[in-house]
């Protein structure tokens, strides 16, 4: 699953540490999320969406398997 965390964070000039602290995870988790190595739980996705004042689907982009575009 792709996400726009890094894009939104840089747009708003927020440091990884600050985002991590705000949503109660480690900086390493934010790095892994941004690199696409780890998929957030629904609870964390909700916290991140709330932090950026967006809907979950605006940040986490679900791609169906085998579907292009």
């Amino acid at each position: 699953m792709k996400n726009r965390i890094q894009e939104l964070r840089k747009e708003r000039k927020i440091r990884q540490e600050d985002l991590a602290e705000a949503v109660g995870v480690t900086r390493q988790t934010i790095i892994s999320l941004e690199n696409g190595k780890y998929n957030a739980s629904l609870l964390l996705a909700h916290k991140i969406a709330k932090y950026f004042d967006k809907q979950i689907e605006d940040i986490f982009l679900f791609e169906e398997e085998g579907k292009c575009g």
């Binding site: 109660g24 995870v25 480690t26 988790t29 739980s41 609870l43």
Partner: protein, 149 residues
């Protein structure tokens, strides 16, 4: 259910956990002291076994109690540790580590039973019993988790 507390999304009461670890650490330390005390009444071979076991338990228990006491006394360290232990990725990794280690151990036990059957029947029976108990524990957790999730 108590099993739910292991789930990555369940928050941890860090202070309570630290206090529990201090108590367990001190308990383990006392067991270590008892084990060391047994050295005096045992023969040379047993004394060496209980001596090293006791020293290990004593040092391990005290270190654990000391570390957790430090977390409770230092607010900055406590906050860092609390975030790290509550972090869902860390917790998921921890659970996966146990799961993969469990799979590996089961395969090793199975291989051990197969090989030791040719070498030593008694060893094979011991390994077979351990494998059987392991399988039962695995099944028990599957039943419990089915109810919890």
């Amino acid at each position: 259910m108590w099993l739910n507390k292991l789930f990555a999304e369940e928050p941890i009461d860090f202070e309570k956990r630290c206090r529990m670890r201090i108590k367990v650490g001190l308990g383990v330390g006392v067991l270590g002291l008892l084990s060391l005390g047994m050295m005096a009444v045992l023969g040379e071979q047993d004394a060496a076994f209980y001596g090293s076991l006791g020293a290990g338990l004593l040092v391990g228990g005290i270190l654990s109690a000391f570390r957790n006491r430090r977390y409770l006394r230092d607010p900055v360290l406590k906050k860092q540790r609390e975030v790290a232990e509550n972090d869902e990725r860390n917790r998921l990794m921890g659970l996966r580590c146990w799961a993969y280690a469990g799979y590996t151990m089961f395969l090793l036990l199975y291989a051990g039973v197969m090989i030791s059957g040719f070498v030593d029947r008694r060893a094979a029976m011991v390994l077979l019993t351990v494998t059987g108990v392991y399988a039962l524990v695995l099944m028990l957790f599957r039943i419990l988790l089915r109810k919890a999730m």
